[in-house]
Each structure stands twice: as structure tokens, then as C-alpha cells.
């Protein structure tokens, strides 16, 4: 069963030190600086586009309704360099995804991390030192 879990916590130190997002096209001020949200969901669509990519994820709410969340990342060249390929997130892929939510309450977030149901981890902005492979 796909649950819906929101963790809105302040991780200022870890987030800032781990931040590798470049955000050259526009500022990232529309996203919360320190809060994170994490959901379990199913990939609806991966928009692998310049200058930014969007991973759309359907999240089932507690009342059974579904909200489509959009997770924004950099463009294809940055994602490919960081090991995120379009085929990694086909429609229907189950995953747990984490990002910094939009300040205005819309269901969008700056994509930080995703863990597919098969356990493979993805860091679209680059793998932070704290998540170094053993």
C-alpha cells in the first residue's frame, strides 16, 4: 500500500552543507530553504527537459484522494552527470522522494533525493558526502 508521509523538519545544517543545486536559470527562493517533505508515491511522468526537469509523482492522501506532486531538478546534462537517466523513472515506478517544498503551498518541491522501491538511491543535485557509498 502506498502511504502518504510528510515530514516537515528543519535540517538547516545538513541541507546547506549538502546543497549542490546550481539553479542558474532562476533563483530557488520559491522553495523552502530548510524544510523537507518526503512522500511515497508512483511516478506519473518524468519531464526530462532544459533548463529544468520535473518528476511528477502521484501521492495517495489519507482520504484516498491523489495529489500529483512535481519535483524540480536541473536539466538533462546535470542529471546524467549525477546518474539520473530518463529510463530510471518510467511511469508507474514506485519510489520514496524527498524535496524542499514550495513556500506558497502548491504541491511542488525542489527534488533532493529519491529511493526507488528496488532500493536504488538517486541524488539529482549530486550525492552529498553524508550519503557516500560504503
Amino acid at each position: 500500500m502506498i502511504g502518504n508521509r510528510i515530514n516537515a523538519a528543519v535540517f538547516a545544517t545538513a541541507m546547506l552543507l549538502a546543497s549542490t543545486s546550481l539553479q542558474a536559470h532562476h533563483s530557488a527562493v520559491m522553495f523552502e530553504e530548510t524544510k523537507e517533505v518526503t512522500f511515497e508515491g508512483v511516478v506519473k511522468e518524468f519531464q526530462f527537459t532544459n533548463p529544468h526537469s520535473w518528476l511528477l509523482v502521484d501521492v495517495t492522501n489519507k482520504d484516498g484522494s491523489v495529489t500529483t506532486w512535481g519535483f524540480e531538478a536541473e536539466g538533462p546534462s546535470t542529471l546524467l552527470r549525477n546518474g539520473v537517466r530518463p529510463a530510471d523513472f518510467r511511469s508507474g515506478t514506485k519510489l520514496t522522494i524527498t524535496g524542499r517544498p514550495m513556500r506558497d503551498g502548491r504541491p511542488g518541491a525542489l527534488w533532493r533525493k529519491a529511493v526507488r522501491a528496488d532500493g536504488v538511491e538517486f541524488y539529482p543535485g549530486g550525492r552529498p558526502a553524508s550519503a557516500a557509498r560504503p
Binding site: 527562493v29 533548463p51 529544468h52 520535473w54 500529483t68 524540480e72 546534462s77 513556500r103 506558497d104 511542488g108
Partner: protein
């Protein structure tokens, strides 16, 4: 919660200078001062360029391919000093008071989460000299008669003419996003003079450069996988004295050659459309995956 916010600010303050110093760390304060003084010896960028040309015994125009360096591959900006930050050792640029005020105000707004990019938000060109500091991929195409310094960000190309031509005659000049660049080769070094630049913002919450700005650059591959650019900026509307900065570009490991530069179009994906909010910040327009009526201004 307030405690966490204070902690976040402290971390920002602690992290940013560390980054700046790490970026400029390869250049000692003495070396930085020496290079800065090179610019200070000359009243204009043209004079510096001509002096460098004299030092290079006229330099080489349109050298044969076997005398040109190999700058092939994909490159990314690895850091270096920015236009208004202190150089190594804390050497500060001498700014006009109005420019310092704009920077101070910009920093205050950024601290409140208010930022907008007048150039890039709508996929406009970053322009030069901002081109030097933008992220993402670059390719440097070296030919005898021209060198193209290209960047993935908004598909831009700087053309450096090395065939001996001069800048356009004064009566033919007009403001350009990337200016007009001519150059010569001094061995493996490419020396560039740029003028005809446009008055426009130099970045988010940054002051505007003027159409009086002129620059001199020396580009060279200093070792395998590393290209450095020494840059002198002359703009009497910004600086009381010419300023100097060094930028470093690292070659990207791309063993499978799968990473390539692709075209940018901000209209390709409507989810990438942003607008300037009433308070001067940045927010997304209507996102395709949300209800059209759920948009509201960010709370800061």
C-alpha cells in the same frame, strides 16, 4: 524555531566565505596582488591589451592548427573570484558608492528570500562578463581564425576573432550582450580584448554593468584538464580602479561520452515558466500538474 533560523543564518555566514576562499585558494594573495597591479598600470583595457601584445612581440594571428592548444572536451566552471567579492587575502575591489549600496541592498533582500534574475529567468542571455561565472557545461572550439567559447546556459557563443581584424569602427558600434572580442595568441595563451558591451544586470540582486565596460582576458590550459582565465575588468561606472579576477574551468570526465550539450528553451516545458512577484522575487507561474487556482504568493 527561532533558534533553528539563527542557526541557519550562522551556517550560511560560515559556509559562504569558506566557499569563496576555497574557490580562490589556488591563487596566493601575493599572486593576486601582482595580477591586479598589471591592470592598475594601465588606464584602459585597450592600453593593457596593446601592452600585452607588445610583450608578445605582436602575438600570432591565425596560427596553424599544430600551434594551437587542445581545449577539446566538456568543461565546467570550477570557481574563482566573482565580480565583487574580495580576492585572496581579502583584497577588496574599490567600488563606486552607489554600486556598494546596490550590493548591500541585494544582500539584504536575498537574506529575506527575495531574488529575481533579470537576465536568465526568461531565458535571456547571461551576457558577458557574467558568462565567466555561470554554471553548467562549456565547450571551447579553437580554430586559427576564431575561437568559440560556448556555454550550455541559454545556448550562448562568444566569438573571439584571432585573424588580425580590429574592433568595428566607432561609428559602427552598438551595445552587444557578449560584446565584440578580438584576440591574439601568445604561445598557448589566448589574449582577448572585449568592448561594445551592454548596460544590464550582472546577476541576481547585482548592480548593472555599463556600456563603458571593457575587459582583457588571458586564457590558457595550465595543466591537463584545467583551463584558467585571468580577467581584468575596466568599468568606471562600477569600479574606482580596474578589478581583476581569475576563473578556473575543469574538464568533465565523460568516459562514455553520453553527456552532451543540448539546446535550452524555457518554453519547452511550461512548468519552467517563472514570473517576478510584486515584492521583486521569483515564483513559478501556473504549474501544469496543479489546479490553476491554487497559486498564491510565497510567504516569507
Amino acid at each position: 524555531m527561532k533558534l533553528f533560523k539563527k542557526l541557519a543564518v550562522l551556517v550560511i555566514l560560515a559556509t559562504v566565505p569558506a566557499t569563496v576562499f576555497a574557490q580562490g585558494g589556488r591563487q596566493s594573495p601575493d599572486e593576486f596582488r601582482r595580477m591586479l597591479d598589471v591592470g592598475l598600470k594601465h588606464r584602459t583595457a585597450s592600453e593593457l591589451y596593446e601592452a600585452l601584445k607588445t610583450d608578445a612581440h605582436g602575438g600570432k594571428q591565425s596560427p596553424p592548427y599544430d600551434q594551437l592548444p587542445d581545449w577539446s572536451g566538456l568543461w565546467t566552471a570550477a570557481g574563482g573570484n566573482s565580480f565583487f567579492d574580495p580576492g585572496p587575502g581579502g583584497i577588496m575591489p574599490k567600488l563606486k558608492p552607489a554600486v556598494a549600496a546596490v550590493l548591500k541592498q541585494g544582500a539584504e533582500l536575498a537574506a529575506k528570500g527575495i531574488e529575481y534574475d533579470e537576465n536568465l529567468s526568461q531565458c535571456g542571455p547571461p551576457g558577458f562578463p557574467r558568462w565567466l561565472v555561470i554554471p553548467f557545461l562549456r565547450e571551447f572550439i579553437v580554430r586559427p581564425e576564431q575561437t568559440w567559447l560556448t556555454s550550455e546556459t541559454v545556448n550562448n557563443v562568444r566569438r573571439i576573432y584571432t585573424d588580425g581584424r580590429s574592433h568595428p569602427a566607432p561609428e559602427e558600434r552598438y551595445p552587444l550582450y557578449y560584446g565584440d572580442s578580438i584576440g591574439f595568441w601568445d604561445g598557448p595563451k589566448l589574449v582577448i580584448h572585449t568592448n561594445q558591451l551592454m548596460t544590464r544586470s550582472m546577476g541576481r540582486q547585482q548592480p548593472s554593468q555599463s556600456d563603458q565596460m571593457e575587459t582583457v582576458e588571458i586564457w590558457q590550459k595550465v595543466r591537463a584538464g584545467v583551463i584558467e582565465a585571468d580577467v581584468w575588468i575596466y568599468d568606471p561606472a562600477l569600479y574606482l580602479e580596474p578589478w581583476y579576477l581569475k576563473r578556473t574551468y575543469n574538464q568533465l570526465p565523460n568516459p562514455t561520452k553520453s553527456v552532451r550539450i543540448q539546446y535550452w528553451n524555457c518554453n519547452e516545458n511550461p512548468n519552467n515558466e517563472v514570473y517576478k512577484t510584486p515584492d521583486g522575487s521569483t515564483n513559478y507561474k501556473d504549474l501544469t500538474f496543479t489546479n490553476k487556482n491554487d497559486s498564491k504568493e510565497p510567504t516569507r
